[in-house]
Amino acid sequence: MNYHWNWHIFFEPSPNGTGTYLDMLLSGLMVTIVTSLAAWVIALATGAIVGVMRTLPSKVANFFGFCYVEFFRNMPLLVQLFLWFFVLPELLPHAWGLWLKQLPNAPFYTAAIGTGLFMSARVAEQTRAGINSLPRGQKMAATALGLRTAQVYRYVLLPISFRIILPPLTSEFLSTIKNTSVALTIGLIELTAEARAMQEFSFQVFEAFTAATVLYLLINIVVVIAMHFVERRVAIPGYISGK
């Protein structure tokens, strides 16, 4: 290999004038983290609601949930981001579209909402699976105790099913983090985009991508450890993963 390694490149000033190449990557890391957190909040909130709808006795709610999940699951994330970013402003009334296009940080909002909705369909499926995995008797017993449907979910079904689906939700969160990198196509300068930019400025391809790889691995490790901790904290003794 006649590739010229230069690991000191990270401490050299980057041409965009904001510091070293390392600063560039770290600011990308921040964008990745903030975007994924925002997307995850949207995904969890919407996904939980849609997932619950799919388990309700109401046919209408069920059908809506089904359509929602199919809609967001059957298109590539990249295409969905393009729809929100390029197509939506054109379909809205002119003034609204203009406002959307002139919004500062438009790539960030699009990425957070687009990735969030994309992931919400997956969260909805997990929520549904979690609720359906509970024995039928739980719902029946709760109803027999006189709880209304909302109370059945709030006090009986959801607390347990969320504990059950905590491990799959962790991997959905990791997917959310990874998926934010797709937003570099609509101009979000996150970690992968910064690594790519560093490669273009400095020609040190493999150093740039190695650094990005290490940072992604670090995020993964931190999330996995944190979620292990959460799982332990919320575990019910003698039940599921409780000890």
Partner: protein, 230 residues
């Protein structure tokens, strides 16, 4: 609003979209699925081999691939493959690798990590008594795998493998970052040439939606059928 749109642009570019773009997308999906399942099965077998070194290597591979975003992996291979080619062929300069070969390698190796986890679950779903009985009959490890374990593992995991292939089909749109003319790339090139972003992206979304919906409907049917057989 709608009056300003020119949906005829779709009809005019159909040939380019499907003959160039969709062919690339489907070829990439098909070949990467094929290669990914084979490579993934080998990794799953390494993982379950009981040989410490092999199983750790397999685990490391799967964990590494699964913690990286596909976009980053696409970039990695795009720049790395020419150097690997140079190293393999002993050429004096990094060799030139076509867009298709580069993305095929990327998707095969990347998706193999996901297929490996599916196949691992499939192999583990076969009761321990079966390989034990097979080796009592005098079958070697490879014969046991070939005639007893893998056929059943494939059958049990078929719906999951196919679902992963639908994901792979959607993921191939990410070759957009290398400006490759896959289906989305073709749509995007027409969109930018003619200034028809809305029409082309809506159409691309519709096509992906229809194909994925039909495919996942088929997988659900298959799942129901397999469930009855067992």
């Amino acid at each position: 609003m709608i009056a300003n749109f020119d949906f005829d642009v779709i009809r005019r570019s159909l040939g380019y979209l499907f003959l160039d773009g969709m062919t690339f997308t489907l070829m990439l999906t098909g070949l990467a699925t094929f290669g990914g399942i084979i490579w993934g099965t080998l990794i799953a077998m390494m993982r379950l081999s009981g040989v410490w070194v092999l199983s750790r290597i397999a685990q490391l591979y799967v964990d590494l691939m699964r913690s990286l975003p596909l976009v980053l992996v696409i970039f990695w291979f795009y720049f790395l493959v020419p150097y690997i080619g140079q190293w393999l062929t002993g050429a004096s300069r990094p060799i030139r690798v076509g867009a298709f070969e580069s993305s095929l390698l990327t998707f095969t190796l990347f998706e193999a990590a996901y297929y490996a986890e599916i196949m691992r679950a499939g192999i583990q779903s076969i009761s321990k008594g079966q390989p034990a009985a097979a080796s009592a009959l005098g079958l070697t490890y490879w014969q046991t795998m070939r005639y007893v374990v893998l056929p059943q593992a494939f059958r049990n995991m078929l719906p999951v493998l196919l679902t992963q292939t639908i994901v792979l089909f959607q993921d191939t749109s990410l070759v957009y970052v290398l400006s490759i003319t896959d289906f989305l790339g073709a749509a995007s090139k027409v969109a930018q040439r003619d200034g028809r972003l809305v029409e082309m992206y809506l159409f691309a979304a519709l096509v992906y939606f229809v194909i994925s919906s039909i495919a996942s409907f088929g997988v659900r049917r298959l799942q129901a059928r397999i469930a009855i057989v067992r």
